[in-house]
């Protein structure tokens, strides 16, 4: 049998914080989460593309998605399958609630050990937290090197990859031995779109829990076809040290949340008339703000 090479993409379902418009804020100025659509974290889509590209370049490679979240996050796995992933895992359970980045990384690392991975690819950061910590922390927990801000794998060279990284002031190409964790930058190629055939085929992909709510014909279909089974992992399945999970396993605590409210100043209102604009310039010059 051909030797398999498992690429696991870490992906997260996030509220679309880019859509926080006036309507998505309540009258008190708090975020109305329910009003925000749940989406595939944008940089995780770039990560998926990088993984799918590698699949075509490494013999026997398979791409699977690992997502931690509530049941509805199974949608992330399906979406990835529509675009080319071979399958995926949903890590779900109350034990994970309240995890900070360290507890999240610990849970993901336990799950990765369980399912087996030769390469892990993740988006640089998620738009609901913007921390960029989970990738490097998973790498540390696994004891693997990390390559952050990746744009492209320029060369596959046996058990080494050459990867181009985007830095603030330029680019860098590094050579790193497998296994490793790669985090992918937003400047990397965009993800290929859904494939119509795959959509038809995988829209029935379900987790164990989802099947409980399905009609019998769906259950039979999924049970007959392993490729439609999204593997559901509970805390017990990944054999963790329970003390390191969730809120209890999170060193950081949120002390306070404040809504961003502007200290409204009373602005001096001006029109675009010559007189008013010239008076403004003269005033600013007299105060040495300009000039």
């Amino acid at each position: 049998m051909e030797q398999k090479f498992q690429i696991v993409v870490l992906a997260k379902q996030v509220p679309d914080t880019r859509q926080v418009g006036r309507d998505a804020m309540t009258a008190e100025g708090t975020v109305n989460r329910a009003a925000l659509p749940a989406i595939f974290n944008p940089e995780d889509l770039h990560a998926l593309e990088l993984a799918l590209d590698l699949k075509s370049r490494i013999a026997g490679a398979e791409v699977r998605v690992l997502t931690m979240g509530p049941q509805r996050a199974a949608e992330i796995v399906r979406e990835a399958m529509y675009r080319g992933a071979d399958g995926g895992y949903l890590l779900s359970g109350r034990e994970f609630a309240g995890s900070d980045t360290l507890a999240t990384s610990y849970a993901l690392a336990c799950a990765l050990r369980k399912v087996g991975a030769d390469l892990v690819v993740a988006g640089r950061q998620a738009i609901d937290g913007d921390t960029a910590q989970v990738g490097p922390q998973v790498a540390e927990k696994l004891g693997w090197p990390q390559v952050t801000y990746a744009e492209q794998v320029v060369k596959v060279d046996g058990d080494r990859l050459q990867i181009r990284r985007r830095l603030a002031e330029g680019v860098e190409v590094v050579e790193c031995p497998l296994p490793m964790v790669i985090t992918v930058n937003e400047s990397a190629p965009a993800c290929r779109p859904r494939n119509a055939k795959r959509l038809m085929c995988y829209k029935l992909a379900r987790t164990r829990s989802e099947l409980l709510e399905e009609q019998s014909w769906v259950v039979e279909r999924v049970e007959a076809m392993p490729e439609l089974q999204i593997v559901e992992l509970a805390a017990a399945d990944i054999e963790p040290d329970m003390a390191q999970l969730g809120l209890a396993g999170s060193p950081t605590k949120v002390k306070r949340i404040e809504n961003v409210v502007f200290q409204a100043k009373e602005a001096k209102r001006l029109t675009a008339s010559d007189e008013e604009l010239e008076a403004l310039i003269v005033e600013l010059m007299a105060a040495h703000t300009i000039g």
């Binding site: 937290g129 921390t131 922390q137 605590k253 010059m285």
Partner: protein, 339 residues
């Protein structure tokens, strides 16, 4: 536990601005806590940073002075810093939220099993009572950061784990030399013992970095344009105004996305932070993600066709009008009155 660490980012002998900003804040926090301010630098010739460190009030400068550490690579930096923290037990460790800080600080935090807060915009010292356990904590580091796409501000603490670690955004904290010079006693880190062969497994094959050509961080006057400027041609008006006033041109993300301005000019949560004495917002609506990068400006003038644009709430002067009409007049009246 009687010290605070600041990681000094340094390449080719040049220290990153954010590291100096952190030393300024670090000195203030150290004074408040009555602990030592200690800087940690890894790279070629870093011992030569001693006089600069003294100016910023550093008590001890820890160095791993070797070409091995330059350019930056994750694993050797992580191994050496982790070992030093384990030995010296600082209560706080601060990093710049740069490409480098955001790459290896999470790894250090994981290795130490201690919490890390990313992209802080404010650091304070304060107390905390846990409502559940009833435990009381004094002198914790309040790590304050925007969250949820900039729509909320969160204060994060690490009550039970040390060190308390944070990365801090560039440009949000003031940078100033210390009132009193520090001794900046240079101490060599026993770094060879901390490294194993696997830490050197990643090799840099190619590297192309350029000096930042556009740098708007330090400008005293910023003329910033948004989507409302309408075109690249109209942006030339902003450049002209900036030039006569001796300022720099900034932009909103919408203006950058539209191709009106270079990405280096973007101000805001995902761009740079500026704190000029005068900020002229031209055709910028004033969304939270933008204002996060300019709300500490001493004075704000907003030019907008919409008198109710959110930017008005931050403005000292709100001019209702079109950018293409108002900006040329400002240039004209400035020239006329400065003669």
């Amino acid at each position: 536990m009687k010290n605070l660490f600041v990681y000094i980012e340094c390449e080719a002998g040049r220290v990153a601005d954010v590291s100096l900003e952190l030393l300024t804040k670090g000195r203030e926090l150290s004074n408040r806590l009555g602990v030592r301010l200690e800087a940690v630098a890894l790279g070629k010739g870093v011992a030569a940073l001693q006089p600069l460190m003294a100016d910023y009030g550093v008590d001890t400068l820890w160095v791993a002075d070797d070409p091995l550490f330059e350019p930056f690579r994750t694993l050797p930096h992580t191994a050496v810093l982790t070992a030093l923290i384990e030995r010296e037990q600082p209560q706080i460790v601060l990093f710049g939220a740069t490409c480098i800080g955001r790459d290896f600080a999470p790894r250090v935090s994981s290795a130490l099993h201690s919490g890390l807060t990313a992209d802080c915009t404010q650091l304070e010292i304060g107390d905390h009572s846990d409502p559940k356990s009833g435990k009381h904590y004094t002198d914790l580091l309040y790590q304050i950061r925007p969250a949820f796409g900039g729509n909320i501000i969160a204060t994060i603490i690490n009550p039970d784990h040390r060190p308390q670690m944070a990365t801090v955004r560039e440009g949000v904290m003031l940078r100033a030399t210390a009132a009193e010079k520090g001794a900046a006693e240079v101490r060599e880190i026993a770094w060879r013992e901390a490294l194993s062969d696997s830490d050197l497994a990643v090799k840099i094959i190619e590297r192309e970095v350029a000096e930042r050509k556009i740098d708007i961080k330090g400008a005293a006057i910023v003329v910033a344009g948004g989507y409302g400027v309408g075109s690249k041609e109209n942006f030339a008006l902003l450049h002209e105004l900036a030039e006569v006033l001796g300022g720099e041109v900034g932009a909103s993300r919408a203006a950058v996305d539209a191709g009106f301005a270079e990405a280096e000019r973007q101000i805001g949560q995902t761009g740079v932070t500026v704190r000029p004495k005068l900020y002229i917002a031209c055709g910028i609506s004033g969304q939270i993600q933008h204002t996060a990068g300019m709300d500490q400006s001493a004075m704000v003038i907003s030019i907008n066709t919409d008198p109710d644009a959110p930017m008005t709430r931050l403005a000292d002067y709100a001019i209702t009008g079109r950018v293409e009409e108002v900006v040329p007049k400002l240039i004209q009246f400035y020239k006329k009155n400065s003669k």
